[in-house]
Symmetry: C2
Subunit: 338 residues, 2 copies
């Protein structure tokens, strides 16, 4: 799958497939028969049903979870918005390839296949206080790279990112989409504080002010203020929907990329779960706007898809319970006295 | 390890070993060297340090997690406090043995060794509205069964329970220890509502009123209002501390058993994490009193140690990140610009 232009993307968003209601009904029929008080596995029960609906199969499967980490560089880093230099993006990609970063350990822990997609790291986006971050052609390339990264044979795809400067980009997207003050959406990222934080807030505000008139939907916001890794995440989300692959979104940056799709096409994220509430400022507010309840809340704010990988354990547990538990009839357990 | 009497238990509680500060310091020294912004793995970083401190070793290990599910029956069920009959306790134990319950699937998912300890299921405790639930001899037997269930070669022990009627028992323990109204601590359990819920609340209140004068500490509350599986959980917590085994406590009932120890000896739960905030009424309030922050909050209320098993994924992830990630120096990644 590919898109040929922004308008082609908009057309594809209007055609997204819905859930498989037959698979969903089968999940909902099996759940109350399992040997436990009704509802007592809480969110795990919902995850099993959600997975069935969006995989389009019952029982749901969790044998082939995959993670994709997209990396990009940001011209806006020249403004002094990050505690780390841009070279760290490439250095961390080397770490992903060497297997030494957090996401590598987490993918080993939860048996997740991992691929890292570095997107033109030697060609940062334009500084969005000066110009649109990406041209339409650059957007299309990054989006297609994201679409291309989702094999159909995937039971769940975890999406994450690496990109020095990309919390600035994510904050600007949220500010453009949902208003408020730049400071409402701007957090410490890798650890900026004091004067650097003032600069970061000003940069977010300046970027949105500069482009607001040209931003008519989420896709516009993503092109003017985003980065290649955010665009690729959006591409992966769309391709996953078209391929019947449920999505696990990581933290603030991934959610901001996702939000751009939801802003363009309400319901575009129905096949997505948000893995965790990031400690990065703005994420909780964004989750409220998106009406998404995160699975985990552990004070994490690393990115790399780390929260999404961690949530795979929960989804696998949900599937294993739904598939493996006996029914009251099978187990000869007395059902509720009523 | 065993206890010979309640007073022997009280003496042992005064002698509990503390954390290994040397192992803790090593964990705290390694963490900021790992290739991520400081603190960005949030609670996972704290879990790695906590595990080191209470295992008494650095790096921490997670190769041998075990789960113990204790089962007991409750005389108070005769009062009509549960939606299921007492026979279900034994039926669910058969399910645990056959591998068909939720806890079996979760232990498979997370590679946890599981043992189920059924405690005199044909001899329910006394109805605590009429007499103390357990005699001292019965308490000592159940406590020692719990102590006996914790091998020294254990990296983390998950504690859970099964026992029709035991949310009534747990609510009564909390009400006795922390006051308030019986209704504050009494929830739906397996699913009671309406008139049955009124009975359950009255039973909790009656039990506490009957025994309050005889309850001088947490141990007394546990004997008068508890059940064998709750006492065994307390025993396992104490044995784990003595054996340098960190503990993962499950939900409301397990937490109530644990609370009895903390009430008798503040600090007795320092080697314990609470796996999740149960949907059972009373648990959040109990966690606040205990000053414990749960790891998960997924609307679960099954018991069986199901939340504790689910949290093993998080602890293993914490250990894998702490052990496996490269340091900035090893990876050649530029550290923060300050």
């Amino acid at each position: 799958m590919t898109i040929s232009s922004l308008d082609d993307l908009r057309a594809q968003l209007r055609q997204l497939p819905g859930p498989d209601n037959q698979a969903l009904e089968k999940a909902n029929a099996r759940e109350p028969q399992l040997t436990k008080p009704p509802g007592s596995l809480g969110r795990l029960e919902q995850l099993a049903a959600w997975l069935s609906a969006w995989q389009g199969t019952h029982p749901p499967r969790m044998e082939r979870p995959r993670a994709r980490v997209f990396a990009g560089n940001h011209g806006v880093v020249g403004k002094g918005v990050s505690a780390y230099p841009s070279e760290v993006t490439q250095q961390m990609v080397y770490g992903f390839e060497a297997g030494t970063a957090a996401i590598n350990q987490l993918c080993k822990t939860f048996d997740i296949e991992l691929q890292v997609v570095a997107l033109d790291l030697d060609r940062p986006t334009a500084d969005f206080t000066q110009a649109a971050a990406l041209t339409e052609a650059e957007f299309v390339d990054a989006f297609n790279a994201g679409m291309d990264a989702v094999p159909a044979e995937t039971d769940l795809i975890c999406l994450g990112e690496m990109g020095i400067g990309n919390t600035t980009s994510a904050a600007a997207i949220c500010h453009a989409l949902y208003g408020g003050h730049a400071a409402d959406w701007t957090g410490a990222g890798t650890g900026v504080a004091g004067a650097a934080m003032d600069i970061k807030i000003a940069v977010v505000g300046d970027g949105v002010t500069r482009h607001q008139a040209a931003i008519h939907d989420g896709i516009d916001a993503l092109r003017h203020l985003g980065g290649r890794e955010l665009v690729a995440i959006a591409g992966a989300i769309v391709a996953a929907r078209q391929n019947r692959v449920p999505v696990m979104i990581d933290g603030f940056i991934s959610s901001a990329a996702a939000a751009a799709l939801e802003a363009s096409q309400p319901g575009a994220l129905d096949h997505c779960q948000i893995a965790h509430a990031s400690a990065e400022k703005g994420h909780r507010q964004l989750l409220e706007v998106l009406n998404k309840q995160p699975l985990l809340d552990l004070g994490m704010r690393l990115g790399e898809g780390s929260g999404a990988a961690l949530a795979v354990g929960l989804v696998r547990a949900a599937v294993d319970c739904h598939r493996g538990m006996a029914t009251f009839a099978e187990a000869g357990v007395s059902d509720k006295e009523d």
